[in-house]
Amino acid sequence: MDVQAIRQDFPILKRQINNNPLIYFDNAATTQKPRQVIDAISDFYENHNGNVHRAVHTLSLEATDFYEKSREKIAKFINAKEPSELVFVRGTTEAINLVAYSWGLNDLSKGDEVLVSLMEHHSNIVPWEIISKLKGFTIKYANVNADGTLDYDDFESKFSSKTKIACLSHVSNVTGIINDVKRIAKVAHDSGALMLVDGAQSVPHLAVDVQDLNADFLAFSGHKMLGPTGIGVLYCKKELLEKMPPFQGGGEMIKEVEFSQGKGCSISWNEPPWKFEAGTPNISGAVGLAEAVKYLEAVGMDEVLSHEKALTKYAVERMQECSKVTIYGSRDLSKKCGIIPFSVKELSSHDVALICDNYGIMIRSGYHCAQPLHQQILKLHSSDRASFYIYNTREEIDRFVEVLKEIEQL
């Protein structure tokens, strides 16, 4: 993998921030975009823009072709059986909300249980909490060990005949720890429950095969994998998608809306996935995401992961030179992606992030939308997070550590 060649594809990496070369270590929040993705979106708007599935004219047909071919490309990337198992959404959050509101609102009731872990991003907690207030089911929270790894025994012991769905992140957005979702999916299915995998931090960083994982639902976002914002995917097994009622109503998602005097409207739904894509979708977003997938495939997902692991190993070693820096979570690289949560003694996470920003280094501070993990497990008010991707280098880590050493002098 030629990192220097890859860097040439990312125009933003030429920027200076506060008179320093940009070092972008906030990839778990969002990634930068290669020229190829930017050009694909521009090309769509400059040459092919039309509304999908709506008209017989050339531009509409071209736009539809681009949109559906994007679905095919992304379906192959995660090894879905069929492109129709992919619903385009705004991102992971909307994907999980779609499951909670469509499947959850209709299939869950009082006495049922939903199982989630304490390491979840708020987007895999809050939708279930909202629906539980409406339907009266119980949410059970599985423990996380002090090193940020999942307490598998606790998770598995919480399954019962009442459990209807288990919801688990494939990779933690705070610690980068990779969960064995295939193992949990098997336990879920043996218990008669469904399995939802939050793939926001896994699909961009490692090869994900939905058939191998046997996940019923997989949610992920385009912008965390070189694609544009506002586009994401809900993968769902076809037989489930066919049974689920629509999430939102409008154009595109209906087959017919027949009106008769006295009887009112009689509505029949479109086939999945269009049944779940009400209104004009984010067509250029889908095109951009497909181009991002093409880019990642050219690099190779095994290469992506191994590059991130090498950077993480190097960063952890170098950061240990800093006496006031504490790194959280397991350092077992066999179970971890390129995310390092840390803090600097006597400084708030926001101070550290602002000082890094002053040197052109972008890192994240706060709860990272995972307040339960911070408060219950890591026992932290907040943390800093450095997260890596394909365009990051050891030299950038060297500079980052130099800055951390300056911060320690404050």
Partner: protein, 89 residues
């Protein structure tokens, strides 16, 4: 007559238990804002002249040459506005 809004682009509460407040100064007014603040606040420490640890009216804060400041233990927006008025105007 100048106002705080002439200098401040955005005020954001931070994510986390600390509830710090970050003040982002307008790019074209940041140098003037920093100069005003450094004249009035008490300097406790600095790193390379780009990060300043300061106190003003019993409030501690850090000021960055990038044009941002982080205030802690601020009770509410009114108190922050009073401090900013005193520092900037």
């Amino acid at each position: 007559m100048a106002t705080v809004e002439d200098y401040v682009s955005r005020i954001e509460g931070t994510c986390g238990e600390e509830k710090d407040v970050i003040v982002v100064f307008k790019y074209d007014k940041k140098d003037e804002a920093i100069a005003n603040i450094l004249k009035k606040a008490t300097l406790k420490n600095t790193i390379a002249g780009i990060i300043f640890e300061l106190t003003f009216q019993d409030t501690s804060f850090r000021l960055y040459s990038s044009g941002k400041a982080i205030f802690r233990s601020i009770k509410n927006r009114e108190e922050l506005n009073q401090i900013l008025e005193a520092l900037l105007l």
